[in-house]
Amino acid sequence: MVRALLIRGMLVGLLAGLLVFGFGKVFGEPQVDRAIGFETAIDEVKAKEAKGIPVLQEPELVSREIQATAGLLTGVVVYSIAFGGLFALVFAVADRRVADLGPRATSALLAASGFVAVYVVPILKYPASPPAVGDADTIRERTALYFIMLAMSVGAMIAAALLRRRLATRIGGWDAALIAAGAYLAAMTAAAWILPGVNEVPDGFPAVVLWQFRVASFGMQLLMWTTIGLVFGAVTERAAASGARFPAQGGVRPTLR
């Protein structure tokens, strides 16, 4: 049963990854190219100012063309399959344990929670940044801060889900969910307030490119989580209705959902 869920999760992740690649290719890549154009222009100006000193050309290990096609596809698809698999495992634990709403609603809520915890809240503090934004000398600090924020966000979301379950029997589902959501937001607001900020946008970097890059990044993540949440739920419900996936639990689940 878990095996079937895991395989389903990874297949849905693959589907999501292909959609996200298409979206990223159309809306994200132009912004990456513009940012690299800015970076190159800055480097040229610097080279002119420092006449006589040879420009340190970075060796191009992978061409831009490969980066923007095979590289983007690989990165996005591997990422999506991995999250599809993780999603399925969390679903296997959470379904009928943390929430009992039927596979479609549980899957959709789980994906919404994942989107908020894994992407939305961390990037509100440490937003996605195009090339040329970010000092190479601070990559260690920035990576550490980003993953600390990510870990705290995911941890707080899990804690909130458990809190909701505890409260639900006493004060009802709606109030329990509101209190849990409030607790998550309060914890993450405190974390964002305590953690140091990062501002390494170079002078003169076009604001429009930064904005559009971040909107494209947001869109890619929204597309991935929506696809995983909705498709996984639909397929799981269909499998459950046919009784194929839950024979050990007595077969038929109510289909009135």
């Binding site: 990223g24 983007l72 999250f83 961390p122 990559i139 990576t143 639990q249």
Partner: protein, 68 residues
Amino acid sequence: MSDTIFLPTVSAQPIPVRQVLPWAIFSVVAVLAIYFVGAEEGATSLFHGMYVHEFLHDGRHLLGFPCH
């Protein structure tokens, strides 16, 4: 009460945790995959060189990871 009908409003039991645990190893694989997409040859390196970083460059930026 001849018209009493059975309404299955209570769902089946959750999947027992001991059935999920053996598959948890896949979460390690998944996290490792996400690490490779997001951070390898950036802040930390398992391999020498920059090939992984350069190949996955665009996805890393667009997925929201700090890249360089």
